[in-house]
Amino acid sequence: MLDFENWTCPLPLRDTPTVVMGHGGGGAMSGELVEHLFLPAYGKSAELTDSAVMPFPGGRLAFSTDSYVVKPMFFPGGSIGDLAVNGTVNDLAMSGARPLYLSVAFILQEGTPLAEVGRIATAIGAAASAAGVQVVTGDTKVVDSGSGDGVFVNTAGVGVVPAGVDIRPARAAAGDAILISGDIGVHGVAVMSVRSGLEFSTAVTSDTAPLHGLVSDILETNTDVHVLRDPTRGGVSASLNEIARAAQVGVSLIERDLPVPAGVSDACSLLGLDPLQVANEGKLLAFVPAADAPTVLEAMRAHPYGRGARQIGTCVNEHPGMVVARTALGGTRVVTMPIGEQLPRIC
């Protein structure tokens, strides 16, 4: 693998160690960037066309896109490159699709060190390889310093949905068991721990991971999976609220059953945040009929990304569209949709 930490180009990119406007001009410098930086990172040959033409196995197509603007770009357990691949792979997987192909587009601010772009590209190549998807097309634009903020990445992906699979939020039904694949709040705390102005030391590292393998194992149980959702921004709380509203069911959580690791609950106590509202990048929520829950949990726990799987609640007919948690002391509270950014509390 290329080591971009001390990266030197065999054909220097016009003698510049940082991104300059010319890298986005579509000329020789753009070509050099693609040839010497992106293609080696993604493990590609240099035959380039305007669009990728790939074999398609038939059936139904899933298509998703997402843009990544995370700050800082490198954090404990991953980088914007890992997120860009796993995020889109997971969006496809949550409709039951097997992800196949990705596009990757960069928006670079001039002045960004090329070594940084190289590290991100390498992370993208490695994550794509680990997820078994191919990066087949890409784009690069450069903006004036001041117009962007380092590196933005957009990925789009396509995948195929197996016959008979119908997984979407509106299928959540009263009586469903609500399962989570593991510890919550991990990614958000890892990123916050290195965010400027908030730095704190923690052993928590991001859980970013591709989840289509776990989804595939769940589907192989031949159970009637109603909903899958990766609770990223806004956390478990946002995902459950969206599902409750889409299906007009109530969601009832047992607070004691939420898998909140000590590092996450400590950081949340200090910052005044609710772990239910903190982002995850390698976890999924599954809504399955109660009778199927033991089978699905067994399959999840057998997969490396689902070892900590457990039931956290049930779908009910009461309070449609709302998420309600039973507190450890026996009271209840409404779990609301987070509004915008998480704001650390004053004291």
Binding site: L329, G331, T332, I339, I346
Partner: protein, 366 residues
């Protein structure tokens, strides 16, 4: 977290609940002063476990909520100046001023940054010597020592581009103001544990005796709060009105002498307008004359801001315990955390926001 999780133990909590039920013979209304306690009570559903008639009145102890509108507008004016780096605790960003908040000023191009410690703002000032860096120094006696230390360090290190927009408020004068109110229903106080860990308990016996109310210094975890309530009910039932410390693991009678010395050096007592409540004499701190050069109000000349409060917002009555949040006609309709009319709907410690977040279910079913 060690020394924290132990104080959420459900079995022990239920035992305390039983003891409270056993000693209660009639209705009592007590006020938890601090917004952190309000948050914890609603978050854990503690008030749902109390005997009928034992009522928790949510006090004015949310620093975000009581920061005067005028100060918010001054913050918006300063943050809008070119070159200024304006630093704030996170939850001040969504507090509405007269029509705008710091978020909208930021989206219009202002350099507004969330910091977790005022010392981070001082570091920013040292890293950006050509730009004025302002920290929004608000809060009770709890946040004041760190703000005082920051100004002290700024002077010691000669960081001239740093200044502080100060709007500190003090708990004991607020307790007196609440008791002086003709409509006051409060029969006892759970005093704010972390305020007392800084300032000690010396100011409270006189208040307890003057107004004939028990004052029990109380912490923030479920067991702390239930023990505070238990001691309060025991006093009320016995007709006593004394100062008691139910949070001895964090609070000593003398407080924190080093912090108090720093506060005496950096700040001086001043009259302060509390948002929703009004002017309370001697209820705030401003920078002392020794540190006046670090006062952002002086440096940026923002004395002429005009303020206008939403006519629908009744947060003043909520802050004084005269109105429950959901009894306000605008609650959950014109006024939500997404579109707050008053500060009590903004901070997660604000009574309206806490009710909206955790109790909407009950309100819907009423």
């Amino acid at each position: 977290m060690k020394y924290l999780d132990e104080f959420s133990n459900p079995e022990l909590a239920l035992r305390l609940v039983e003891q409270i039920h056993a000693v209660t013979t009639r209705p009592w209304a007590m006020m938890e002063v601090c917004g952190g306690q309000t948050h914890s009570i609603i978050r854990h559903g503690i008030d749902q476990l109390l005997p009928d008639g034992v009522e928790m009145i949510h006090g004015p102890g949310c620093p975000v909520c009581v920061t005067p509108l005028e100060t918010i507008d001054k913050a918006l004016a300063i943050a809008s100046r070119p070159d200024v780096i304006f630093c704030s605790f996170g939850d001040m960003l969504r507090v509405p001023g007269s029509g705008r908040d710091l978020f909208s000023v930021k989206s219009a191009g202002a350099d507004v940054r969330v910091v977790y410690s005022p010392l981070d703002a001082l570091n920013l000032a040292r890293e950006n010597p050509d730009r004025p860096v302002v920290f929004f120094g608000i809060g009770f006696e709890t946040t004041a020592p760190a703000n005082a230390m920051t100004v002290y360090q700024a002077r010691r290190l000669g960081v001239r581009n740093f200044s502080l927009l100060v709007s500190h408020v003090l708990v004991p004068p607020a307790i007196a103001a609440i008791m002086e109110s003709p409509r006051c229903r409060v029969q006892a106080f759970l005093a704010a544990g972390h305020v007392c860990s800084v300032m000690g308990t010396g100011e409270y016996p006189a208040l307890a005796s003057k107004y004939g109310v028990p004052i029990v210094v109380t912490g923030f975890e479920p067991l702390d709060i239930l023990e505070g309530i238990r001691q309060t009910v025991v006093q009320l039932e016995a007709g006593r009105h004394e100062l008691q410390n139910a949070y001895p693991r964090a609070v000593r009678d003398e407080g924190n002498p080093a912090a108090k010395a720093m506060l005496r050096d950096v700040f001086e007592v001043t009259d302060r307008a509390w948002r929703g409540i009004g002017m309370i004499p001697d209820s705030g701190w401003r920078l002392s004359s020794r540190y006046r050069e670090f006062d952002a109000e002086e440096r940026f000349q923002v004395g002429d801001v005009r303020t206008s409060e939403s006519p629908l917002c009744r947060s003043g009555e909520v802050l004084q315990g005269l109105l429950k949040p959901h009894e306000c006609a605008a609650f959950g309709k014109e006024c939500t955390p997404r579109n707050p009319l008053g500060a009590t709907m903004v901070s997660s410690e604000g009574a309206c926001a806490a009710y909206y977040a955790y109790r909407r279910l009950d309100v819907v079913h009423i």
